[in-house]
Symmetry: C2
Subunit: 199 residues, 2 copies
């Protein structure tokens, strides 16, 4: 079950990174496997023409009447442009998740938690850069602890063609493991923020 009554999430990057699929996996995980409700909203407009891509997901334990995300609780960014555009909208106390090799963060506001993952590199280690979006989903799962790990895995499996299931589950597990390790290191005080390490 969802830990919070309502969570608003924005995922953004550039076209071809699989932003929409990542968003729909998260929506499915909440709704189908955890008995919650979710909506995913995708915008087509001038910004889509510029090669950028973004989607909003709202997770809720009740039916959603108003799916417009104004100030996300969680922002997942896979491009510098997405970071620049959406970071100011993040709610105070929110969580920022970055593809750390693609997003440079100048300074982290005190009231924001930042988690970075080299998702593209981890995907390349699996031989297919294209699964970086699912690495991000795994990492999102580990650092937010918002949804059940197994629900997310099942949603991944349901969202890709059967022939691609193993690759995508491996990508999910890789991102999840990276996130778990990072959270442990942060708790132990080994690092302040891995997102900043990369800058």
């Amino acid at each position: 079950m969802l830990q919070r009554m309502l969570s608003e999430i924005r995922i953004a990057g550039f076209g071809g990174q699989g932003v929409i699929l990542a968003a729909s996996v998260i929506g499915k995980a909440a709704a189908i496997f955890e008995g919650g409700f979710a909506t995913m909203t995708q915008s087509f407009g001038p910004e889509a023409r510029g090669g950028s891509s973004s989607a909003q997901v709202i997770l809720s334990s009740d039916p959603i009447l108003y799916p417009y995300v104004s100030r996300p609780d969680i922002l997942v960014v896979m491009s510098q442009e997405a970071y620049t555009r959406f970071a100011p909208q993040l709610k105070p106390g929110g969580i920022l998740i970055t593809e750390q090799d693609l997003v440079r963060i100048d300074r982290v506001p005190e009231n924001m938690r930042v988690y970075g993952v080299p998702a593209t590199r981890l995907a390349e280690e699996l031989g297919r850069k294209v699964v970086l979006n699912i690495v991000m989903v795994g990492f999102f799962g580990a650092v937010t602890n918002l949804l059940d790990r197994e629900s997310l895995r099942e949603a991944v499996e349901e969202s890709v063609p059967p022939a691609m299931a193993k690759l995508n589950l491996d990508a999910f597990d890789k991102g999840f493991a990276y996130g778990t390790e990072l959270v442990t290191r942060l708790e132990n005080g080994d690092v302040e923020s891995v997102a900043l390490e990369a800058v």
Copy 2:
């Protein structure tokens, strides 16, 4: 350019019919090729578990601040369940588009225009039932005249893998031609409503 300032569209059917892809083709056509704005919202919830699928598209000549569709202007239904559930929400004066072999309409309210197309059969004539969603999009284009035909075709081409482009464009053209012929017959008074013919 969009003929109306704002159009709300709901597309609904059962899982596997390609409802989401159809919705995103319409959104893309409006936004990318016609300089308008569009959002596509997909819900995951108890209804998604029942094997049904629906998406909302809002087309606008201005940025969209509130993407929630309450009463669509246009409803496209590909299953009886979708018809039963969503038809009561259609705005007075709205347009109902049905997969006429899958949806039985008992009576058409006077203030509603109904257009039916045997999309599954037309898709089967192309040898691939799976493109029934794009047949529906073509038919939608012809009977609503809301978006430019070429914009829709380009959005179809952009939305499918290159190897599937020809099949999907053929499906679009088949649905469009069926719609054009139907509109002509309706204007000539040859039929009252093809949707009712099938009942």
